[in-house]
């Protein structure tokens, strides 16, 4: 197998990383930004998990029958990271709900304009 094909998980990781970050930067919709952020975080899960897996490896069970083990630590780390990611997304969405209540919009340019108008009136 050529090198780029056997390392295809890295290509997917990099693609997700760049795509997620691009969405965060390029989109003005606050919910879409959060979706981009989630994609960006998800790419990191793959970065940790993929190298921990050995083809043909099992979970680390002490037994004569198994000789090749996959590294379980990245899975545990990423379980924690997933929880962190969910907490971030939940808090982000909660803030967006309150922004919508306060401004009546979730488009960044409209919110900035609303603040500027309010500032002019003062």
């Amino acid at each position: 197998m050529p090198a780029f094909a056997s390392h295809y998980t890295y290509w997917i990781t990099v693609l997700l990383m760049a795509a997620g970050l691009y969405i965060v930067v390029a989109r003005g919709n606050l919910v879409k930004k959060l979706i981009g952020l989630s994609i960006f975080q998800t790419s990191v899960y793959l970065l940790y998990i993929a190298p921990g897996k050995l083809i043909g490896g099992t979970a680390p069970i002490l037994s004569e029958a198994f000789k090749v083990y996959s590294n379980p630590l990245p899975h545990v780390l990423i379980l924690t990271a997933i929880v962190v990611g969910i907490a971030t997304l939940a808090l982000g969405l909660a803030i967006v709900v309150r922004i919508r209540e306060a401004y009546g919009s979730i488009e960044e340019d409209e919110i900035v304009a609303a603040d500027r108008d309010a500032g002019d009136r003062e």
Binding site: K33, F40, V44, T88, L91
Partner: protein, 493 residues
């Protein structure tokens, strides 16, 4: 023995206090519990700092799993120093918060404020004390998520947008950090910071290690608001509740500076970061831009809180300038300034919270003639402002002094001149407050009821007194920082 479990308890007590507060819901109990947890953390970090200075670094194996397999809590000269700063500010802000929060937040949100205060404190202490790179990420997110909530609790609707923007940038920063840690784990197979430092020389300077260094640098720089990654900071500080601003300004960016120091000098080591790569040059360049541009922007702000926020960006520039020198005096200056700027900014934001409570806003228009009705508060702001400038006899002078010494030691006299010259810009923005408060006639709209409540004023003045005290008695700050600098450069055991 409880004493040997102090490293774990220091983080666990505030962490456990937070859900208890949410269950209790009563504002008075919540406040009492938050104060008790913060005071406990302060006492614990003082005890740990004493123990470290007496008997050397403490290693605590979480759950009795020996490092590097289990998570290690490690207290050495550098982390003990930062722990004392963070927990001291936490212990001062918690009693202060009662009146300030009561005035600024609706009643049903009071207990939430104290719960988040405890969570944030636990996160920041955890970041400092842990000896595990991934555990650090988890604590970083605990601290950051609670900071987003603290900011979003602000009265102004712009607080929500500030919190959202900080959430986006903060999460990108934390994710960059965790990518860097992941690459280090792939290169070495370990997450323990001491073990990483021991194993990295084998994997030295492969592309993965260099990429890890780059990711961690950018991620942590976002968190510590290094120019040009500081854009989240001014709005976040300006619109957060007063007590939250004081707490965050004095601790959050400082702990991130600690993380940067830890990775540069413990994990990657000075030979790679300082000698082989142009990291010092980049840091120095960015620091100079941060100091000059943020100071100048601060001078033109119409709002005292925003002025102080931009001044924070500039002051962080002085800290990173010291790191960029990477000499013994430079690092001493960085660590001393980390502490001194923490207490100075803490004092200023606490006093500003008192002004916000009495005057309704901290717009310069509302501050005219304020010294007549709030003489003690204005005197405090002026004294802490002198410390911000670095006038002899204040804590700020000590940091600037070592910064100048470090610049001369590094053979860069122009940097020393720059430090002195840019302090003049700080004179300009502190003078704006003095001019408004002391030299202007009260405007027609200013009806200020008098001094801030005693509890708030007393706590603020403790911080102001600390700014002056550490300008004369430097045995704790300079010696602690010196030990930390020697530890980082590998001169001490």
């Amino acid at each position: 023995m409880t004493l040997e479990h102090l490293p774990a308890l220091q983080v666990m007590v505030p962490l456990a206090a937070a859900p208890l507060i949410v269950l209790l819901r009563h504002a008075g109990f919540a406040w009492a519990l938050a104060v008790a947890a913060s005071l406990f953390a302060f006492g614990a970090s003082l005890a740990l700092a004493l123990e470290v200075s007496r008997a050397g670094a403490i290693s605590y194996a979480m759950g009795n799993w020996p490092p590097p397999w289990g998570i290690e809590y490690r207290v050495d000269a550098l982390s003990a120093f930062v722990l004392v700063l963070v927990s001291a500010v936490g212990a001062l802000v918690a009693p202060y918060a009662r009146r300030s929060v009561a005035a600024e937040l609706p009643r049903e949100q009071h207990y939430l404020y104290y719960a988040v205060h405890c969570l944030c404190l636990a996160g920041l202490l955890g970041m400092t004390i842990t000896g595990d790179a991934f555990n650090l990420f988890v604590f970083m997110e605990i601290a950051s998520l609670s900071m987003y909530v603290l900011i979003a609790l602000g009265r102004d609707r712009r607080a929500l947008l500030a919190s959202y923007q900080y959430l986006i940038l903060g999460t990108i920063g934390a994710t960059f950090y965790v990518i860097g840690v992941g690459l280090l784990y792939l290169a070495t197979g370990t997450l323990n910071i001491a073990d990483l430092a021991a194993r990295l020389p084998e994997a030295q300077a492969t592309r993965a290690v260099l990429a890890a260094l780059a990711f961690i640098t950018v991620g942590v720089s976002l968190k510590l608001a290094l120019f040009p990654l500081h854009l989240w900071l001014p709005n976040a500080y300006a619109y957060a509740p007063s007590a939250a601003t004081a707490f965050l300004a004095a601790t959050a960016t400082k702990v991130s500076v600690y993380v940067l120091l830890r990775f540069y000098f413990t994990v990657f080591g000075a030979p790679l970061v300082v000698d082989a790569l142009p990291v010092p040059q980049i840091l120095t360049g960015l620091s100079i831009i941060a100091i000059v541009s943020a100071s100048l922007v601060a001078v033109w702000q119409a709002d005292l809180k925003r002025l102080l926020a931009y001044s924070s960006v500039a002051q962080i520039g002085y800290i990173t300038l010291g790191i960029g020198m990477a000499t013994r005096d430079g690092l001493t200056a960085a660590v001393v300034h980390l502490f001194n700027h923490g207490i100075t900014k803490g004092a200023l934001f606490l006093l500003v919270g008192g002004i916000a409570l009495r005057a309704g806003s901290v717009d310069f228009g509302r501050l005219r003639g304020l010294a007549r009705t709030m003489p003690l508060t204005c005197l405090g702001v002026t004294l802490a402002g002198l410390s911000l400038i670095g006038v002899p006899g204040t804590a700020g002078f000590i940091s600037k002094w070592y910064l100048v010494l470090g610049a001369i030691e590094a053979g860069q006299a122009w940097l020393a001149a720059l430090v002195v010259l840019t302090s003049l810009i700080a004179v300009a923005y502190v003078w704006r407050f003095v001019e408004a408060a002391y030299l202007s006639e009260p405007g027609s709209g200013t009806a200020v009821a008098g001094e801030a409540p005693l509890a708030m004023l007393a706590v603020s003045w403790v911080m102001v007194a600390a700014c002056v005290w550490f300008g004369f008695d430097t045995s704790f700050t300079v010696q602690g920082a010196r030990r930390a600098a020697e530890l980082m450069l590998g001169a001490a055991p």
